[in-house]
């Protein structure tokens, strides 16, 4: 094959690829849905816009993570570093330089965080897997430690209070209800999201997905893997920085805890929950997580974490590709036909599985009942007297729960087995 034909061939391939991308780039009508919901939320929950703004900020933060985690396959537990850099950029600019114009402020936050991402990414992105994970954690932790070391500048863990920002466009004041903030953050999110969407569906975005799928091959075909990764990392850092800047502006306050490991872990959990590598996964994940957290912590300020944990475990058991994955498979789902339904028979395996589930549920129930006695009672007598009835009740409850959960699991998984092309 001559060079010329080869060249021609790549050209047409490239042409086809860009046609394909252009097609995918068209907006699907369903994509308007989250935005319409966000606007509707304003009118329905107009008293709760302080919380609403925080949800939008977390969505933006999760989108930034999706860009590197979902599309480039970079696993990080230190993304709070860039969120924090953005947050402190606007805080320090306002406090020390008197630069209080909000929109230029978030741009500055994005630029500073992006530059930091560029430098750090250049060093770190030679590594992958656990090594990279630990480097990202260490970077965020070192920023936090140095911030505390210079608490004369950063305000340490008491933070920088009394930040004031100019009215938006010199006109809109920040009200107590957070209405201005909500529109402001929503607009920022829309702009950022548009950019991210462009990036993802560009040839650059496709190259990233290629890197995620197979680094070695991308290296072999001469793709500048490292620089691409660094570039996307910097972009992601910049967006995280913008989210952080908005965080500072809407709160008018920032402390060093923005760099916490918890912040990084939480945003990652939100994203995986919603579904990685699908843009709107960040919307679903962040919203579901934060609304549920808010709801549960209202219901039980002390034990709400149990509900969140359960959500995550159940989500990962039943929704392998995140919550958005469920929606996608639901839209492609056809209810079993009569023939398929008949094929679902209660085999002995299922009975066995249910028996095991009952045993496990009973075991857990026993442990809970038992531990409950151990933890609650500091005296033996209570333990002895309350032992039988309470523990037996817990065993029964656990066994019943085990059966129900497993039955549901079996039904769901056997359904997907039926869906497979028949042999």
């Amino acid at each position: 094959m001559s060079d010329a034909t080869l060249h021609q061939k790549t050209l047409t391939a490239r042409q086809r690829a860009s046609d394909y991308l252009a097609r995918r780039h068209h907006f699907h009508w369903a994509e308007a849905l989250p935005w319409l919901l966000a606007i509707a939320a304003f009118f329905v929950f107009s008293n709760r816009m302080a919380f609403g703004s925080q949800v939008l900020i977390m969505i933006m933060f999760a989108v930034s993570l999706d860009l590197i985690l979902g599309y480039a396959g970079i696993i990080t537990l230190g993304h709070a570093a860039f969120f924090g850099i953005g947050a402190y950029t606007v805080a320090l600019a306002s406090l020390r330089l008197g630069w209080s114009e909000p929109i230029s402020g978030i741009i500055a936050g994005g630029v500073v965080a992006g530059l930091a991402g560029l430098v750090v990414g250049w060093f770190m992105l030679r590594y992958r897997g656990l090594t990279l994970l630990m480097l990202t954690i260490a970077f965020a932790a070192m920023l936090q430690e140095s911030g505390n070391l210079r608490s004369d500048i950063t305000g340490g863990y008491d933070g920088l209070p009394g930040l004031t920002f100019d009215p938006l466009f010199g006109h809109f004041q920040y009200d107590l209800y957070g209405h201005t903030n909500y529109w402001y953050v929503l607009a920022a999110l829309a702009v950022v999201f548009y950019v991210v969407r462009r990036i993802v569906y560009s040839p650059f975005g496709q190259a990233l997905t290629g890197i995620r799928e197979n680094v070695r091959r991308m290296n072999a075909i001469g793709s500048p893997v490292h620089w691409r990764l660094v570039t996307v990392y910097a972009i992601s850092a910049a967006i995280a920085g913008i989210a952080g800047a908005l965080f500072t502006q809407t709160n008018a306050y920032v402390t060093l805890t923005v760099f916490d490991f918890d912040t990084s872990a939480k945003v990652m959990v939100m994203l995986i929950l919603g579904g990685t590598g699908r843009l709107y996964g960040a919307f679903v994940g962040a919203t579901v997580y934060m609304v549920l957290e808010d709801y549960l912590s209202k219901m039980s300020p002390t034990f709400w974490q149990f509900g969140i944990g359960l959500l995550l475990v159940v989500a990962v058991l039943f929704a392998r590709r995140g919550l958005l994955g469920v929606v996608e498979s639901a839209s492609a789902f056809r209810w079993r036909t009569g023939a398929a339904r008949r094929r679902f028979v209660w085999k002995t395996e299922y009975w066995k599985a249910l028996a095991v589930a009952a045993f496990d549920g009973g075991l857990i129930g026993f442990l809970i009942g038992f531990a409950g006695n151990l933890g609650r009672a500091d005296r033996m007598s209570l333990f002895v007297s309350a032992f039988p009835a309470r523990v037996v009740a817990f065993i029964a409850l656990g066994a019943a729960a085990g059966i129900v959960i497993n039955a549901v699991y079996l039904l769901v998984t056997s359904r997907s087995a039926v869906e497979r092309p028949a042999s």
Partner: protein, 290 residues
Amino acid sequence: MPHALNDFISVLFDGLAYAMFLFITSVGLSVTMGLMGFVNLAHGAFAMAGGFIVVSLARTYGIDFIPALVIASVTVGLISVRFEQRLYRRFYKSTDLEQVLLTIGLAFMSIAAFTYFYGPIPKSVPLPHWLQGDVNLGFRTFPTYRAFLIVLGAVLIAILWFVFEKTNIGAKIRAAVDNRRMAESVGINVDRLFTLTFAVGSGLAALGGGLAIQLLGLTPSFALLYLVLFLIVVAVGGMGSLKGTLLAALVIGIVDTGGKYLFPVAGTFFIYVITVAVLLVKPAGFFGRE
């Protein structure tokens, strides 16, 4: 005694004791991640469970600290078998992200559950008399509990080293870490090996949790609070490597102690500096496979 020498001995001794705690608690995580490729962020929850069982046994039943430690490790080890068989096994072939979601969910649940049963107040446990006070080694005294940690750590390391390096089962574990597919192809039941090592790892974590009561204190947030520390030990040592984990625990333990002793202003900075330095030079950790 010259001042500098005294400093040096202090750092070495305290660092060693701390390192032993880190090793005991982290080694299970290292093997889980190395052998099964499973990111178990609920490892700290097993450690915490061990700690609380020790508290319950010692305070409710008046069982001595040492037997309580043994019972707690064995119990948690056994319970972890069911977790592994019923829950974790489904996720060996899943992505890291799903494993993260599952195990962090479990950690959250455990925090809330233990808060419910034990409350949020830090727990303590009565130590036997022979573990209190100082031991005099002639030239200076050392806290007995720390000395006990060092001895216990050394004994455990010797046992683990023997099992891992000198027995057939150890060789099988190493084979499975090297190449799971091939290990199965020579007839090793890797699933059962996983369950076994997972149980031992969780049991050791529980032991670490019991030992931590006296060292760091024990509250339900223990499940996630020290997770990063354990991950650091695993990453710096190299996943699945026993001697790597030991070396990492020693380096982290002694450097952290030395840093706090000599330059307290820099706080925990040193741990991260060491982590970054080691990983930049040896990305897979001291004894990890590239």
